[in-house]
């Protein structure tokens, strides 16, 4: 149960991070996405597989990503995820929403502080 709750809190944020990563870097496999997020967060964000892959699957089911098997630079078989047009639209909308929310939170926390 508690596992699910954590995933729930993270879910929207994680979706946004994954979409943004794929929008900037182009098609990536799961490990590359995780590594990129870890790198960007300075090691603060270490995703385990149980969080990352179901999220990728969900985004794919929603038609925001498209997953295809391909080959990595050193000739390994991997599943690459690419953002779709619907995914870009979603990303745009969520980005705006996120900024709005962040502004509100900042203002609120500032006043309270």
């Amino acid at each position: 149960m508690s596992n699910k709750d954590k995933a729930g809190v993270l879910q929207g944020t994680l979706d946004l991070m994954v979409l943004q990563t794929l929008a900037t870097l182009g098609p990536q496999h799961g490990y590359a996405i995780a590594a990129r997020l870890e790198q960007v967060s300075g090691g603060a964000l270490q995703l385990n597989m149980g969080t990352l892959y179901p999220a990728l699957m969900r985004l794919e089911q929603r038609g925001l990503l498209r997953g295809e098997w391909g080959v990595t630079d050193n000739s390994r078989k991997a599943r690459f995820y690419a953002i779709t047009a619907a995914g870009r639209r979603q990303l745009g909308a969520e980005k705006a929403e996120w900024d709005r929310m962040a502004d509100i939170m900042r203002t609120l926390l500032h006043e309270q502080g």
């Binding site: 490990y31 590594a35 597989m49 149980g50 892959y53």
Partner: protein, 888 residues
């Protein structure tokens, strides 16, 4: 939108497994490998790197599980697993499963079959605008069936003076002869419709236009609208049908359009091919009458409309009472007509609702029965369930598993029941159609459309699901409550909780009680039917063959039929096995008759009390043929022909007009005639039009004294089965009058039965369902007793070892069964009593004072109980003490 797509993908993922487990595993393996390589690059040893990678990635198994959940719909997959397990459990107990499924199939099938008749007749709305606003007008005379038939001037009066209907429409079903270019002349089903008919119903043409107000004028050109199916069958959907000239009943008409496809008729069971303006009917028939339907104005209730129409109706009653004062007893009634007009509802509505209640109770017995069996089996499965609980199965999951099993049973029962109903519905429709039809507007009833359509199947599915939950919930709850530790410790044979045993017995008691209600209700309907068929008929319905002749195309004038008919009668009486032969204008319970006012010199009566007297024109030996006793005077003779006019009256007529004095020798005239008839005989009262009304005052006249012969119904009293002489009779008719057509051959018993189809249907089906219920109770009781005896084998062995006789053991088991049945009877008796009151309110003239139906039900249940106890009792008596004690 995206979420919706996700769910669709997940649903298809459940069914298709679009990404296999292998595929997912491969993706995860790569992730771990890449992590390990990264760690190695940071200088870790391969082993340490692999360990770090596994730690950071998290468990592969958990990730797989989350992905599987995300891939499909986990609850759906669980359901599939539960269903598979349920099917396995069923296969393991084939006898139990077969009995349970069959019980449920009978219950659900019966409900499906009855509902498939109730739905079109009472529930399904007409495919017209706002069908709920439609009401039908019905004229009612005390003691007679209601009728939706109003003369044109009455319709006009209602239409122009009411304030409650936004539209008042009229229609009349008729047969019409249609011909035209490239159209073979044929008789089709037609309907006269008033000019506002189609607009008021909000119907749009499929092609061309529909009948409009200006078409319904006496001087307008005749237009015709055809049905979609007629357009399809006769014109192959050719759009050129609009403007086609046809000939309807000898008059030219122009087809102007096609009615919408979904619309058949507002008249239930009718499928007209052609609609014509009502003006056509008015031109041809001065007594033109039509069925009237109103659309309530928004906000007007049916009660308000009733009140207003009662006031408006005074005009009609006064008009009618000018010629027949007793018609002041006429009233007008309004009924909802959103499901279409049907006098069938008056005849079948309540019987069908009674049957619906009966089959619901039957299903309840079946459910209770299966619940009892599941409960007993639950005891056997307790150890399995306890093990599963100990191994960590959540109580909720177990309960769901049990419910899935019971719903699965119900589903299979429902599927089999639907198959049973498929044949049942056909039989039901055949029975209903075998009736003589209803009088009045009903017109030609073509076909009752009762199918196992989508609505019925949805009903069946809902009933099955409900049944599955109903009988599954108690056993599931019991299974859940069984404490795992205790069950595992005990040996299983003694693991029954006391409450569960009581519950099992309670189920049997409930079944006996419901069954008593069913059987006693069936008993009421059967005794009602018996009374209708046998009490106060005034004639003997057995052993009479009825043959109707039609001389219209024989070339024989009615004035010249006397001698051939007399010859035919004597030839018929010469046929071996024939005791008497006669002819008459009306035969008993045919449903059609003739009536007049009678004037008796010196007899005074208040105008309101003046009523029609039924008439029949008969030949000599009529009363002998029908077994109606001649109480005084003499029968008619052929020799009366040309003599002074004579008549025979029944006892009611004699008592009413001639008091206690002898009617023989007295005289009367028929209203509107001045020639007098002399009464020469008095006969017993006999029912005339139908069985539900007492014998009316009746006058019999000699068919051979009229100027023309218009009685063509021959009746033959036989010593053997009447059908045995039918061939000889038809040959004899052909010999005497080769050109004569025979239009109908039947028996009096069949004619009587055709008039009471609703009563027969209810009696037959209630008995059938009552018997099925009793058999189910027997099976349930047998199951419980067999289980109890097997559980008590040890105890019985000890008792026998201690000196109890086998006789004592038999007595013990039988007494147990009798106790359960008796408890059920005590519980059921008040309900049976109440059910009988209900039934008597629904069906007139029910013999409610008769205690026999309940006694019959009680005795039948006792017999069933003892029969069910027989095998277990014998089993108990055969327990070998040594064998039983070894198992202790």
């Amino acid at each position: 939108m995206a979420t919706m797509r996700e769910w669709l993908r997940r649903l298809s993922g459940t069914i298709r497994r679009d990404r296999a487990d292998q595929d997912l595993e491969e993706e995860l393996r790569l992730h771990v490998e890449l992590l390990a390589e990264a760690a190695q690059r940071q200088g870790h040893s391969p082993e340490a790197a692999a360990r770090r990678a596994r730690l950071q990635a998290g468990g592969t198994a958990q990730a797989m599980e989350s992905m599987r959940d995300q891939r499909g719909l986990p609850w759906l997959e669980d359901l599939g697993r539960d269903a598979q397990l349920g099917l396995r459990m069923m296969r393991r107990n084939p006898l139990f499963s077969a009995v349970a499924i069959l019980s449920l199939a009978l219950g659900i099938g019966a409900n499906t079959a009855i509902f498939s008749l109730v739905n079109p007749l009472m529930l399904r709305a007409l495919p017209v605008r706002e069908p709920a606003q439609l009401v039908e007008l019905l004229s009612k005379f005390p003691g007679e069936p209601r009728n939706n038939a109003f003369r044109w001037n009455v319709y006009e009066h209602f239409r122009d003076h009411n304030h409650v209907f936004s539209d008042l429409i009229g229609l009349l079903p008729r047969r019409a002869e249609v011909s035209g270019d490239a159209l073979a002349a044929e008789t089709v089903s037609a309907e006269y419709a008033t000019g506002n008919f189609f607009p008021a119903l909000g119907l749009e043409p499929a092609l061309g236009r529909l009948i409009r107000a200006e078409d319904d004028q006496l001087n307008a050109d005749v237009v015709a609208v055809v049905s979609w199916s007629y357009w399809q069958n006769r014109f192959n959907h050719h759009p050129g049908i609009v403007g086609r000239r046809i000939v309807v009943d000898g008059a030219p008409a122009t087809i102007v359009g096609v009615a919408p496809r979904a619309f058949r008729s507002v008249l239930f069971g009718s499928r007209p091919d052609v609609w014509l303006p009502a003006a056509v009917g008015r031109r041809n028939d001065s007594r033109f009458a039509l069925g009237v339907v109103g659309r309530l104005k928004p906000g007007v209730s049916i009660e308000q409309a009733r009140a207003e129409m009662r006031v408006l109706d005074r005009w009609r009653i006064e008009e009618a009472a000018k010629t027949a004062p007793f018609l002041r007893q006429l009233t007008i009634e309004l009924e909802p007509a959103g499901a279409g007009l049907s006098l069938l509802r008056d005849y079948y509505g309540r019987p069908l609702l009674a049957l619906m209640a009966i089959v619901a109770l039957l299903l309840l017995i079946a459910c209770t029965n299966v619940a009892g069996m599941l409960l007993a089996r639950g005891a056997a499965r307790q150890r399995e369930l306890a093990v599963r609980v100990s191994l960590g199965a959540a109580g909720f999951r177990l309960m769901r598993q049990m419910l899935t099993e019971s719903v699965l049973l119900a589903g299979l029962g429902g599927a089999l029941g639907t198959a049973l109903a498929y044949f049942g519905v056909d039989a039901l429709v055949r029975i209903v159609m075998s009736g003589r039809g209803v009088v009045g507007l009903a017109g030609p009833l073509q076909q009752i459309e009762a199918h196992l359509d989508a609505e019925v199947l949805m009903f069946t599915a809902a009933v099955s699901l409900l049944a599955g939950i109903l009988f599954g919930i108690a056993p599931a709850w019991h299974a859940l409550r069984s404490a795992p530790a205790q069950s595992l410790r005990e040996t299983g044979t003694a693991g029954d909780a006391r409450s569960k045993r009581l519950f099992g017995r309670g189920l049997i008691v409930a079944q006996v009680a419901i069954s008593l209600v069913l059987l006693s209700t069936a008993g009421v309907f059967i005794s009602h039917l018996w009374n209708l068929r046998n009490v106060g008929l005034g004639f003997n319905r057995h052993g009479v063959l009825l043959v109707t002749l039609d001389p219209s195309r024989s070339g024989m004038a009615p004035e010249r039929l006397f001698q051939p008919y007399q010859d035919l009668l004597s030839r018929l009486e010469a046929i071996p096995g024939v005791r008497a032969a006669t002819l008459s204008g009306v035969t008993p319970i045919h449903g059609a008759g003739s009536a007049r006012f009678v004037n008796v010199p010196g007899f005074q009566e208040p105008p309101m009390a003046r009523q029609y007297t039924s008439l029949n024109w008969v030949a000599p030996r009529y009363f002998e043929t029908f077994g109606t006793p001649l109480v005084a005077g003499r029968d008619f003779q052929f020799a009366d022909q040309g003599q002074a006019r004579v008549a025979i009256v029944n006892q009611s007529m004699a008592r009413y007009y001639f008091g206690d004095g002898n009617a023989v020798g007295r005289q009367f005239t028929l209203d509107g005639q001045d020639r007098a008839y002399e009464v020469i005989g008095v006969v017993g009262d006999a029912k005339y039009l139908d069985l539900h009304n007492a014998a009316p005052r009746t006058v019999y006249l000699n068919a051979f004294q009229e100027s023309r012969m218009f009685s063509h119904r021959f009746s033959i009293r036989t010593d053997t089965a009447p059908s045995a002489v039918a061939g000889d009779v038809q040959r004899t008719v052909a010999e005497v009058m080769p050109a004569m057509a025979i239009t109908r051959v039947t028996t009096l018993a069949d004619q009587v039965d055709a008039s009471i189809v609703p009563e027969r249907l209810v009696a037959m089906l209630s008995m059938l369902f009552g018997s099925l219920g009793a058999v189910l109770v027997g099976i349930g009781l047998y199951g419980l007793l067999a289980y109890t005896v097997s559980r008590r084998t040890n105890e019985i062995g000890i008792r026998i070892a201690l000196g109890a006789t086998r006789h004592d053991m038999i007595k013990m088991v039988l007494a147990g069964a009798a106790g359960l049945v008796a408890a059920g009877l005590i519980v059921g008796a008040p309900f049976a009593w109440w059910g009988r009151q209900l039934a008597s309110r629904w069906v007139v003239n029910l013999p409610i004072d008769n205690p026999w139906p309940i006694a019959f039900g009680a005795i039948a249940m006792m017999v069933v109980g003892l029969a069910a106890a027989y095998l277990p009792a014998r089993h108990a008596a055969r327990v070998a003490p040594a064998e039983a004690l070894r198992h202790l």
